[in-house]
Amino acid sequence: MPAVELSHITKTFGPVKAVTDVSYSVEKGELFGLLGPNGAGKTTSLRILLDIFKPDSGSVTVLGGPLTVAKKDRIGYMPEERGLYQDIPLERCLVYLGSLKGLSPAEVKERSAGYLERFDLAEHKKKKVKELSKGMQQKAQIIATILHRPELLIVDEPFSGLDPVNTQMVKELLREQRDQGVTVILCSHQMNLVEELCDRIVLIDHGKVMLYGDLAGIRKRFSGNAVMVRSQTELPKLPGVDSVEPINGTVKLNLARGADPQGILQELARRKIPVERFEIAMPTLDEIFIRVVQGQEDPA
């Protein structure tokens, strides 16, 4: 049974259709990517999932059924815009947010100690939140989201404002959560990070699902019209190749419509051109995203 299932969700705000017939499910214990350009309807779908908004039509099941008040304590949500009380000390803020999730102050202090240490925030816990840097607040927000050990973790743009070291820390943390059986929904614009972390994704644009499914399968579906070739000799003009793009010592051959990668390989062999590497070029998620969003490709 999926941890989260949105089925044919539609939501309008006045004349604006925020999401139309959106369906996706997130399996238990997976790290799932929710992608889309600004204003695509990602956050609206998350808010519907969290029962902040009611959908006009469609249904949502969370952790095996409709979202109840009790289930909220099993969910950790970090919104895109950070939401911490600015005028109270960090530790007090964590205690309050943790207590709303059913933890005692002692439990919060005990559980947060390790995370504060890990994220270099231990010495800042008595400072007011507004005295912390943006990156520190970001890390504090992540700690507040996972303190109560949620079964479902929803993080919206968790890497924004983080330097590479902290980005790495958060990546490790998300993997660690996934490894512990937590279902993670990662909403992000940073395609390389989604590509690195997620096995499955949904891409929403203009309120509609444009891509959904296994990331490897999606990439494979968008591949096939280019090959990557590395050779010590300069490649001659080959039949079936439209254009050539050198990329970091490798050459990307963009194939003409109807051209076959196997045919290109045979042609290289026939001409006795030494080849060190030959592979079908898989598009990056970034490229797929741009192609889908700019309407170069039909949705799945």
């Binding site: 705000f13 808010r47 969290l50 902040i52 908004f53 009611k54 008040v69 909220k72 304590d73 969910i75 949500y77 970090m78 919104p79 815009e81 950070r82 939401g83 911490l84 009380y85 600015q86 005028d87 109270i88 309050y96 947010l97 207590s99 709303l100 999730k101 507040a144």
Partner: protein
């Protein structure tokens, strides 16, 4: 319920242990202390204890009875007899007297006397000298009658139906409900202001979005309103202590303070009418906070709430002339106008129990309605960043966003 308590406790701690609250809390007693200090300064400036001389040609003060005791906070002024006006004048010129009186030989028949002074004699000293003269004029009269004549009457005004009375000794008690009303209003708007600002800020910095994934909008609003009411009551309690302690300390020496007392009726009105009104105002402030996009915008809208609350003071003359008039009765029942009206009426009349009960029930119902409205406004307006929620949407839309 537990989460409501957690939210309330958080709100309470967040605002009460805050410099702004402590400053606001102390500012009222500080102003009171300043005013009292000013009064004592003025009194002390009037308290010139330099002796007053007298030259008596009438024989009235040849063997004077002692000077009646000066009433605190005034200090006794010594009176010095002189045989001749020249001697008194010399003492005045030497700065040993602030003035001297001359009683001519025919004083007892004409009542005329003359005063010579370097600086104008202040009232306390003049009154003491006249009391001295009065005591000596009455020295052959029964001391009880003499005292009564010097001190005057203690008048109690009572209504024809016997339901209300006002003593000249307890004049201050009449002011207690009025002062309590003003204190309540200040506390309501101070703590309500915190609540409104907190709601707007939480919307602005998106804390709301995190909180509503832990509590329901109704729990959140109920907790906030409860916390806000506790903040206001803390404020009032501490102000009462700031006022009551000096009164208890000062009433042994300051006679006018002895007249101050709070009736059971006043306490009942405070609890039964003012408390739910407090909750209603808090709920309305939270509703405003949930509908506006900026704190400044919200502050402008609080006028809609404060105006009806002040109406009874605007109609004070009307309420005073007839505290049981139909308009007084209606104002005492309507939400927002009820708390001050009932307190003002309480100072002027004996309120029938049924009126307190009905007014209280109306305030409780509106307070509950206010909490519901705040919860609804919050649900509809919480995620409208930078956009105001129209009030009609609160009543028209059936499905939350």
């Amino acid at each position: 319920m537990k989460k409501i308590g957690l939210v309330a406790l958080h709100e309470y701690r967040r605002h009460v242990f805050n410099r702004r609250f402590i400053f606001g809390l102390l500012s009222v007693p500080l102003v009171i202390i300043l005013l009292v200090g000013l009064v004592f300064l003025i009194i002390s400036m009037d308290n010139n204890t330099t002796p007053i001389g007298y030259v008596d040609h009438s024989g009235l003060l040849s063997n004077p009875v002692p000077v009646p005791k000066a009433e605190p906070p005034y200090k006794p002024v010594p009176f010095v007899a002189f045989d001749t006006e020249e001697a008194a004048r010399a003492a005045l010129d030497a700065g040993k007297l602030q003035a001297y009186y001359v009683l001519p030989a025919d004083y007892l028949t004409t009542g005329e006397l003359r005063v010579v002074h370097a600086v104008q004699i202040k009232d306390p000293a003049r009154v003491q000298f006249y009391n001295f003269l009065g005591a000596n004029l009455l020295k052959n009269t029964d001391p009880v009658i003499a005292t009564r004549l010097v001190k005057g009457a203690d008048l109690t005004v009572q209504s024809a139906d016997g339901t209300r009375s006002l003593s000249s000794n307890s004049w201050f008690s009449f002011l207690v409900p009025m002062i309590a009303g003003i204190g309540f209003i200040i506390a309501m708007f101070t703590s309500g202001g915190y609540l409104m600002q907190a709601v707007v800020e939480e919307k602005e910095n998106r804390t709301m979005e995190v909180i509503v994934t832990s509590v329901t909008p109704n729990e959140l609003m109920a907790g906030k309103i409860l916390g806000d009411t506790a903040i206001g009551l803390t404020q009032i309690l501490l102000w009462i202590l700031f006022i009551v302690i000096p009164i208890l300390v000062g009433r042994s020496s300051l006679k006018f303070l002895q007249g101050i007392q709070v009736s059971t009726q006043t306490l009942v009105v405070m609890l039964a009418v003012m408390l739910p009104s407090f909750v209603l105002v808090a709920a309305l402030m939270a509703t405003i906070g949930a509908t506006v996009s900026e704190a400044r915008e919200g502050q402008q809208m609080t006028g809609l709430i404060s105006l009806p609350i002040w109406i009874p003071y605007m109609l004070f003359g009307l309420l005073m002339s007839n505290p049981n008039s139909p308009i007084a009765l209606v104002l005492g029942m309507l939400p927002l106008t009820a708390p001050v009206t009932m307190l003002v009426r309480d100072g002027l009349t004996i309120l029938p129990a049924w009126q307190i009960a009905v007014s209280s029930a109306i305030q409780v119902l509106f307070a509950i309605g206010g909490i519901w409205l705040a919860g609804r406004a919050f649900r509809l307006g919480m995620l409208r960043y930078g956009k105001r929620l129209a009030w009609r949407e609160l009543f028209v839309r059936s499905k939350p966003a």
